[in-house]
């Protein structure tokens, strides 16, 4: 059969019209296949610039080997010298004196700048998600102000320690730092999600313990973030945020429970402080609350992803009697989750979550190290306080 005969048998006058129809059908089918692929490609292209930039920023995070060298430093001057070769050098140059506080302030200023940069460079949909994560710094600032006011520090002194990168306006944070009483701080929080702190005032008056406010702030922070992450249809980015937040909430709750069990507190007095949501089943949390020792909490965690990291820290807990190794193991696991998200989702929120969690670990470690050296702790003692990326 010739092409002309084929065209005639299909009702076409000649081959060219048949070819044109075949080409049009192929084009339509091709478009149906290509359009979703192209949309995905456009989405990926949106992240190419920002995520590559964030990867370069992540490469500047102080490596473990350098941190080990810094731990061996015999004075703060040596720590500052080691930090001179990092991206903190420009901030350290403005430092007037070699004190751990001054180093912390340099770290905070750098952190604020780099977080602002990350939020500015990411695509619009990620900005909203990152803002949820950066609320952690609002809570950090409010806690710092509450502690500062409680300890009678001057507003200037408190302001110098703030990291104004969260959702709250920097001028609002500055206004809070001016307050002269805890009540004033809380009343100035009107119009923000943290105004709910007022509900804890009565309990604080009874206990005079700032933990009442701090635990409440964590509860507000994480429960609101969890609601934000789970109240809308989950796309890949929100799923990663949900996964990261779930680990965050579990870690906050478990740290609280471990500390409470170490102090011998009863289930009733802990329950109201726990954050709802997270990845651990409610029944498991209730079961953990009922046990009477740290060892039993560890045993109750068997079968969860937290069991192995916590189990690895138990020998150190048993030899020192301090809950800190378990807390560090849980925090390290959270960083590992952030790092894993960064690896598995290179075109999306992954690198930003990875960077924020690694940066948080870095700041915390340098701060611990500087304070440790200033207080005359031995390298071994400092090493036991340093956080590592967990399993």
């Amino acid at each position: 059969m010739t092409l002309e005969e084929l065209a005639a048998s299909l009702g076409f006058s000649s081959f060219p019209p048949l070819f044109a129809v075949a080409l049009a059908v192929a084009l339509v089918v091709g478009l149906i296949i290509l359009v979703p692929i192209l949309l995905r490609v456009i989405e990926i292209a949106n992240y190419a610039y920002s995520n590559s930039r964030i990867q370069v920023m992540s490469s500047r995070i102080i490596p473990e080997e350098k941190l080990k060298e810094m731990i061996e430093a015999s004075s703060l001057a040596e720590v500052v010298a080691a930090l001179e070769t990092t991206e903190y050098s420009a901030y350290l140059r403005e430092m007037m004196e070699e004190r751990s506080e001054a180093i912390e302030r340099a770290l905070n200023r750098h952190t604020a700048d780099s977080y602002r940069e990350v939020v500015m460079m990411v695509p619009l949909n990620l900005k909203k998600i990152l803002t949820v994560l950066l609320r952690k710094w609002d809570v950090y600032n409010i806690k710092l102000i509450l502690r500062g006011v409680y300890a009678g520090r001057s507003p200037d002194d408190v302001r110098a320690d703030l990291v104004p990168v969260g959702e709250l306006n920097p001028s609002k944070i500055g206004e809070l730092a001016e307050a002269r009483s805890l009540e004033e701080v809380i009343s100035n929080l009107d119009g923000t999600p943290y105004s709910r702190l007022a509900e804890s005032l009565q309990l604080f008056d009874q206990t005079r313990n700032l933990t009442v406010f701090e635990a409440r702030l964590d509860k507000i922070l994480y429960e609101d973030a969890w609601k934000d992450a789970t109240s809308q249809p989950l796309d890949e980015n929100l799923l990663s945020l949900k996964n990261y937040l779930a680990t965050n909430i579990d870690v906050v709750n478990l740290k609280f429970v471990f500390r409470a069990k170490k102090d011998g507190l009863a289930a009733g007095s802990i329950e109201s402080y726990l954050v709802s949501g997270g990845g651990l089943a409610e029944s498991l949390i209730k079961g953990i609350l009922e046990v009477d020792s740290v060892d039993n909490v560890v045993a109750a965690l068997e079968g969860t992803k937290y069991y192995q990291p916590v189990l690895g820290a138990v020998p150190e807990y048993e030899s020192t009697g301090s809950i800190l190794p378990i807390e560090l193991a849980l925090d390290g696991h959270l960083v590992r989750v952030g790092k894993n998200i960064s690896i598995t989702q290179p075109f999306g929120i992954g690198p930003a979550i990875g960077y924020l969690s690694m940066k948080e670990m870095e700041i915390r470690n340098v701060r611990t190290l500087a304070r440790g050296i200033e207080s005359g702790l031995s390298p071994d003692e400092i090493r036991s306080l340093i956080m590592k990326v967990g399993s």
Partner: protein, 179 residues
């Protein structure tokens, strides 16, 4: 009734698809890798070399598309206009024992097939661009990963090479080239 002009038009469509589709792929691939490169350079201008190497990889599909289009145009003789095509069709008719009109149609359809092969295979540059973008980020973070990332990025190239190879085989097989 067919005439030679249908064959000429099809040959032109084939050459157009070869270059056009491959250019879309290469353009998007280079664009994605370039955006990642710009991000890396914004943080560290020393990353320019790394970015350039990875950005160059998806460009090759555009070169294959160009090569495919030139081969189609040479093979079908449309570089010499209607008379060039007619002459090639007559040669083919003589070789295959068919009419010049049928030979012209076969040449035109072969050009479309060859153009689709190298052109659509050129869309692999999009995937290559995505891998290149990821690699720029990975190498920026861990310079030691350069070689491994390069291997991963080059993988997509295989399909573009296969596409060009099939185009050449179609043209050679039908004695449009090398006859």
């Amino acid at each position: 009734m067919l005439d030679v002009s249908t064959g000429v038009a099809l040959a032109a469509v084939g050459a157009g698809i070869s270059m056009g589709a491959a250019a879309i792929g290469a353009g998007i691939g280079v664009g994605i890798a370039g955006a990642a490169g710009a991000g890396a350079i914004a943080e560290d201008p020393n990353k320019f070399g790394t970015a350039l190497v990875f950005q160059a990889l998806p460009q090759t599909q555009g070169i294959y598309g160009f090569l495919g289009a030139v081969l189609i145009m040479i093979g079908t003789g449309i570089l010499g206009g209607f008379s060039g095509f007619e002459s090639a069709a007559n040669t083919m008719a003589g070789l295959t024992g068919t009419t010049p009109e049928n030979a012209a149609l076969i040449m035109g359809l072969a050009a479309v097939g060859g153009g689709l092969s190298v052109g659509l295979a050129g869309l692999s540059a999009i995937g290559q661009g995505i891998t290149a973008a990821g690699s720029i980020g990975a190498v920026s973070k861990e310079p030691g990963a350069f070689g491994k990332c390069m291997v991963l990025t080059v993988m997509s190239e295989t399909f573009a090479v296969f596409g060009l190879l099939i185009t050449i085989l179609i043209l050679v097989g039908l004695k449009l080239l090398g006859a």
